[in-house]
């Protein structure tokens, strides 16, 4: 089981991870995108489009430090533990909390119950926005590869 480990002391708030997440999940990103393709996708992003959303957030602590908020794919996930449609499920083999958009009824129980405030809602109010560990990228989460400080890294738990 893998998890993205965070070292907030290393984060300098550049938000490369945020942009990489947007690019990874935007429609024009080629599936199985290489790092190079991902870089190109960043320049094709329309940042004025409300549908371009990041699954992670880097928040300033107001004192020069940063607090990265990434889905933890919790061992006991509040989101999947309260989902009424079966759209969110903890995969016990991979450890990931997987989201099935087709099953989701957009009731937003998960939004209310995630104590860390991770899930966001889509502008069309029909689904949620949540980390999928970049399941479509062979090389793993785009955010981790984009971080120049190694403040986030994938580790076995």
């Amino acid at each position: 089981m893998k998890r993205i480990f965070i070292d907030p002391a290393k984060c300098d708030g550049c938000k490369n991870c945020t942009i990489a997440c947007m690019a990874s999940h935007a429609d024009m990103t080629p599936r199985r995108g290489s790092l190079d393709e991902l870089r190109q996708a960043v320049y094709a992003l329309d940042l004025t489009d409300p549908a371009v959303q990041s699954r992670n957030r880097i928040l300033s602590d107001g004192q020069g430090g940063y607090k990265p908020i990434f889905c933890r794919h919790c061992d006991v996930p509040d989101c999947a533990g309260t989902c009424m449609s079966g759209a969110l499920e903890k995969n016990l083999e991979t450890g990931l909390v997987e989201y099935n958009e087709d099953k989701c009824a957009a009731c937003y129980m998960c939004v209310m119950n995630c104590r860390y405030g991770v899930p966001a809602i889509s502008p069309d109010r029909k689904r949620i926005i949540k980390c999928d560990f970049c399941a479509h990228l062979e090389e793993g989460p785009a955010c981790v590869r984009a971080c120049p400080k190694k403040a986030i890294e994938v580790r076995e738990v």
Partner: protein, 409 residues
């Protein structure tokens, strides 16, 4: 080898079955349900609105029972529990023995004692798939619908039927829609969006009598104001009552609801209860949590069930989204902070430095921490100037061992 029996295939029953299987790979698990198929009542409106099929509102995979090796006796009503012989009887004289039993029978809709309402064949609830099927059939015969109650269930039904071109009238005793979850402003926003879709609201008004035809069907509802409202059928959404008859008949302590201790044990040995029938909470997440905790105890894993915090909900009608936590009606002696823009409306109720209520209408993204703050009485007195911009960054902590987050207060 132990035999586990679960009565009910809703949020609590299914979660319990899944949990039991995880802890007990070899034991026998049987789920009994009146419902023919598993479905999420929170998605019933999707079925009634013809957005999804019955399979589409199943909240477990189609092969759930097969894959988990769980017996599902569906479409059968439980007729009795014998706590001495440890058997559950169902259907026409069948019975199944148990070593540990979970009652997760849910709740049933309630019809207030209005003349004719309890007997009329065209008065329906909106709790189960069978209710939705009846409404669907009635709708083929006439599109004038009268709904009693404008809580989440009433509005769910209304949104589904409006989408199919019904002429919906909703009577609500309270002065505003969704009275438990809204304040005056939020209610007015929802009222407007429903009116724009063809609903008519009668607020502060109840049904007091009815005109019936030769078959006892209600053809007109007579309001407390004396007005007559013609209708083809009626949906009752004026509250529910825990299903306790089975437990009571078996001598299990149950007055308004099935009594349980902090391990979700009932007064009968080896009999547990979870979900709506315990009366502890009426919301889906709490039923799941109870199903899980009860199953753990049944499997011999000691789990104390913490009292739930039931004052919480989210709603999404016609794309208008709202998160509502805590007691919004209790504002006396509290600080009420409001933030209002054309796109957003937020309200925080603070008492002694702690949040006791939080309402957000609009983009509710990332707002889950407010439930945590209210439920756990976290002190926010130093943060009142940015009460609507609180994030987990304000309480940030990391468990170095496994990388999960922890609250630091």
């Amino acid at each position: 080898m132990e035999r586990f029996v679960i009565i009910g295939a809703g949020a609590a029953g299914i979660t319990a079955a899944k949990t039991l299987r995880a802890f007990r790979p070899q034991d026998v698990i049987t789920v009994l349900s009146t419902d023919e198929q598993v479905h999420s009542r929170c998605m019933l409106h999707k079925f009634l609105g013809h957005e999804r099929t019955a399979e589409g509102i199943n909240f477990v995979p189609a092969d759930f029972f097969e894959k988990n090796d769980i017996y599902h006796i569906s479409g059968q009503t439980v007729t009795g529990i014998d706590t001495a012989a440890k058997t559950v009887s169902y259907g026409e004289g069948y019975s199944v023995p148990y070593d540990k039993l979970l009652i997760a029978a849910g709740s049933a809709f309630f019809i207030p004692p209005i003349p004719h309402f309890r007997e009329a064949p065209n008065v329906f609830g909106f709790r189960d798939l069978s209710d939705a099927l009846k409404i669907d059939a009635a709708f083929a015969g006439g599109k004038r619908v009268f709904i009693v109650g404008s809580g989440l269930v009433g509005l769910d039904a209304a949104s589904a039927l409006c989408r199919r071109g019904a002429q919906v009238t909703i009577a609500e005793m309270a002065p505003r829609v969704m009275p438990l979850q809204t304040d005056g402003y939020a209610a007015s926003v929802y009222q407007k969006v429903f009116e724009d879709h063809g609903c008519r609201f009668l607020l502060g008004i109840g049904a007091s009598d009815a005109v019936v035809d030769g078959e006892g069907n209600i053809t007109e509802v007579i309001l407390s104001t004396g007005e007559h409202v013609p209708c083809d059928f009626i949906i009752m959404a004026a509250g529910v009552r825990p299903r306790i008859q089975l437990a009571q008949a078996a001598g299990i302590r149950a007055e308004r609801a099935i009594e349980v201790d902090d391990h979700l044990r009932t007064s009968a040995p080896d009999v547990y209860a979870a979900g709506d029938c315990t009366g502890l909470s009426g919301v889906w997440p709490d039923a799941m949590a109870q199903g899980k905790a009860a199953a753990e105890n049944m499997a011999g894993v000691d789990t104390v069930y913490e009292k739930p915090y039931p004052f919480k909900n989210t709603s999404n009608f016609f794309g208008v989204t709202m998160l509502s936590v805590g007691r919004l009606d209790q504002t006396e002696g509290a600080d009420v902070i409001v933030h209002k823009t054309p796109k957003e409306y937020k309200k925080a109720i603070v008492r002694d430095g702690k949040l006791t209520g939080y309402l957000s209408l609009g983009d509710i993204s990332n707002s889950g921490l407010y439930l945590h703050l209210i439920k756990n009485g976290v002190d926010v007195s130093g943060k009142l100037d940015r009460i609507f911009r609180l994030t987990f960054a304000d309480f940030y902590g990391i468990n170095e061992k496994n990388g999960e987050y922890v609250y630091t207060v």
